[in-house]
């Protein structure tokens, strides 16, 4: 890299950000670069929506790498609650401390209470960690999997980046972390949350870009192979499959082919490695049955 850390405010235009992301082997188009640029400059969360495997999570990783900031990830799931997202007290250590104090003959409840609700007994979960760490990139992954009550809670945190802990006081981020929220759109996310964010819909990349991504990410890949795989991927995406392959899958697929020493996509090898691109038995059967892998 440049030998110095890049701050969010140093990036002067979306074009510059494209260049910086490229150094992290992430090829962004103009729309995504503008989205990320504005997120950095305006201090607003970036809400990325799109099919699985179009590079939503990868963008957060690339941003963290180029800012030389830790990536703090909050993977959402049904039933996620504050204790897992925000903070929790280290119960076992608190008890140990109480026992030790008891053995030492300390009986002053007020003093004991002050001691056990000390910062060192607090376990920071992703949201608190992101507020405390500067700079940092917070990735709230697959928000559509969490319950809608969690959205309201997240909105509260994302609005002012302050977290109040009753026993300890309020933690406030001097400069807000860079936040990337992703959704696979398995359900509609509340409008109030989107309103806080910059909304970007990520498409599968166009053919040329996909070829470029394959070549950029996989050093051993020949141009012929990249072209053929990208063309096959494009066909697969229009074949009405249960789960059309995203860029993540084409990358995996190409890597599998490279591992087998392929320099171009012949139908036999393609069929043998198809499991890297397609994850449903029905899809594999449909593709092999329809001869969709024929010479590109």
């Amino acid at each position: 890299m440049l030998g110095r850390t890049i701050r969010a405010t140093d990036i002067e235009s979306p074009a510059k950000l494209v260049e910086l992301l490229d150094r992290q082997a992430y090829l962004a188009d103009e729309g995504l670069a503008t989205a990320a640029f504005l997120a950095l400059r305006m201090g607003r969360p970036l809400f990325l929506e799109g099919e699985a495997g179009v590079g939503k999570t990868e963008l957060a990783k690339a941003l963290a790498a180029l800012l030389d900031a830790p990536l703090i990830r909050l993977q959402c799931y049904e039933g996620l609650d504050a204790a897992q997202a925000l903070y929790d007290w280290d119960f076992a250590r608190q008890l140990l401390h109480l026992k030790a104090a008891e053995a030492a003959g300390v009986t002053d409840v007020g003093r004991l209470e002050g001691e056990i609700y000390d910062r060192r007994f607090l376990i920071a979960r992703p949201l608190l960690k992101a507020v405390e760490t500067q700079p940092s990139v917070l990735l709230v992954d697959e928000i559509d999997r969490a319950d809608d009550e969690f959205e309201a809670f997240l909105l509260e945190v994302l609005s002012d980046f302050t977290i109040s802990i009753p026993e300890l006081g309020t933690v406030r981020a001097a400069t807000p972390p860079v936040v990337v929220v992703t959704s696979n759109r398995t359900r509609e996310v509340h409008d109030a949350l989107k309103r806080r964010c910059l909304y970007h819909w990520l498409e599968h990349p166009i053919f040329d870009r996909e070829v470029a991504i394959l070549l950029r990410r996989l050093p051993g890949c020949t141009e012929t192979l990249a072209t053929q795989v990208a063309r096959a991927a494009e066909r697969l995406r229009h074949a009405g499959l249960v789960k059309p392959p995203g860029v993540a899958e084409t990358l995996d697929w190409t890597e599998a082919l490279l591992t087998l020493g392929a320099t171009e996509l012949d139908p036999g090898l393609a069929a043998a490695t198809l499991g890297a691109a397609l994850k449903y038995r029905e899809d594999v059967a449909a593709v092999l049955g329809n001869g969709l892998l024929g010479h590109g």
Partner: protein, 358 residues
């Protein structure tokens, strides 16, 4: 700079007319975004607007059209959909009052006659028979499936309540006993849409009585809307204890009895102004869509993504030869979890049962 504000406010207005929720706050975000970008660069303005004013993939094609029209030098013409507002007041109930064909006796109900009534189509009953069915409906008390809430309560079994345990240890000087807690539960919400258009007229009153029973048994978590040519919330009206009074109130509140059905538009309005997150959605309609079936399909897709379960009640489903052939029904069907009958008392009892165990 003021010129820029005026231009962008006008653009946002154009978007709103096209159905994109580009409100004041979002417009302010756009102006803030433009502070960081080159406002003379058409592409940067395009992206700034798209990133701040849009909220769903469905907004994107509309945005593109509006952007091209507005910044191409011409404002997009406001598209006004012609709405035929038919406001025949309660005329629907006349059609429902015709005596039935086969068995027109108005004898007082006995246990066995109720058993017979239970499976008869309410559209083909005499007034007296229908009254009897309505009395039975009023007694319907379904339960609700529970969903876990985020709150906790202390309990004998469950996960360790560390906070309470440690608090107690502080007070008593030692851990006397472990405190436990578990999530509380809440009944799942139900959103019921009752089609009161002309083709549903024979069933409208019975459906509303069913809605009344639902609201009465779960007042806090039931929401009812009438659909026809307009979406009208009628939950408040249905809260009256007496079904007759409640129905009277509903008939005053609803402006579009016995018109056509524009369910697609109405669902869009519902999804804009209300929500069905985590709820069981019940749509009672025969699917005679007068609007665009494609619009209905897209709105149903949105609805089904929000809802926990979508149940469609179609009175005609009670007949063995029924096939979902109407345009609206066909468009909606891929997003419906259960398609059930809704023509007889037995069908409503079954629906109530289904709601309790969804």
């Amino acid at each position: 700079m003021d010129e820029l504000v005026a231009t962008m406010t006008g653009f946002a207005r154009t978007l709103r007319a096209a159905g994109v929720g580009a409100d004041h706050e979002r417009t302010q975000n756009l102006l803030k975004a433009l502070d960081h970008l080159d406002v003379t660069d058409r592409d940067e303005v395009y992206w700034a607007g798209r990133l701040t004013l849009c909220a769903t993939p469905a907004d994107l094609p509309r945005y593109d059209r509006c952007f091209a029209a507005y910044f191409g030098g011409m404002k997009a013409r406001q598209v006004r959909t012609a709405t035929t507002s038919v406001t025949r007041h309660l005329a629907a109930r006349e059609g429902a009052g015709e005596p039935g064909g086969d068995d027109g006796t108005a004898a007082p109900a006995t246990a066995s006659s109720i058993e017979v009534l239970r499976h008869r189509d309410v559209a083909r009953m005499t007034d007296a028979e229908r009254d009897e069915v309505h009395r039975m409906l009023a007694m319907l008390r379904g339960g609700r499936p529970l969903r876990r809430s985020r709150r906790f309560e202390s309990a004998h079994r469950g996960v360790l309540d560390r906070r309470r345990t440690i608090r107690e240890a502080l007070r008593k000087g030692d851990v006397a006993r472990l405190r436990r807690r578990r999530h509380t539960t809440r009944p799942r919400g139900v959103v019921l849409f009752v089609d009161i258009s002309g083709s549903m007229a024979p069933y409208a009153e019975t459906l509303l009585r069913f809605a009344h029973a639902l609201v009465r048994s779960e007042p806090r978590t039931t929401r009812v809307f009438s659909v026809g040519t307009r979406l009208t919330p009628v939950t408040a009206e249905l809260r009256h204890r007496d079904p007759g009074t409640a129905l009277n109130e509903v008939s005053k509140a609803v402006p579009d009895w016995s018109g056509g059905t524009r369910l697609g538009e109405e669902l869009r309005e519902f999804l804009t102004r209300h929500h069905a997150r985590g709820a069981i959605v019940v749509i009672a309609s025969d699917g005679w869509e007068r609007g665009d079936p494609e619009l209905l399909g897209t709105q149903m897709a949105r609805l089904s993504r929000q809802a926990y379960r979508v149940i469609w009640v179609n009175p005609h489903k009670g007949y063995a030869d029924y096939q979902p052939l109407t345009g609206g029904m066909r468009a909606a069907l891929p997003y419906v979890d259960d398609l059930v009958a809704g023509h007889s008392l037995a069908a409503y009892e079954e629906l109530s049962e289904r709601l309790a165990h969804a």
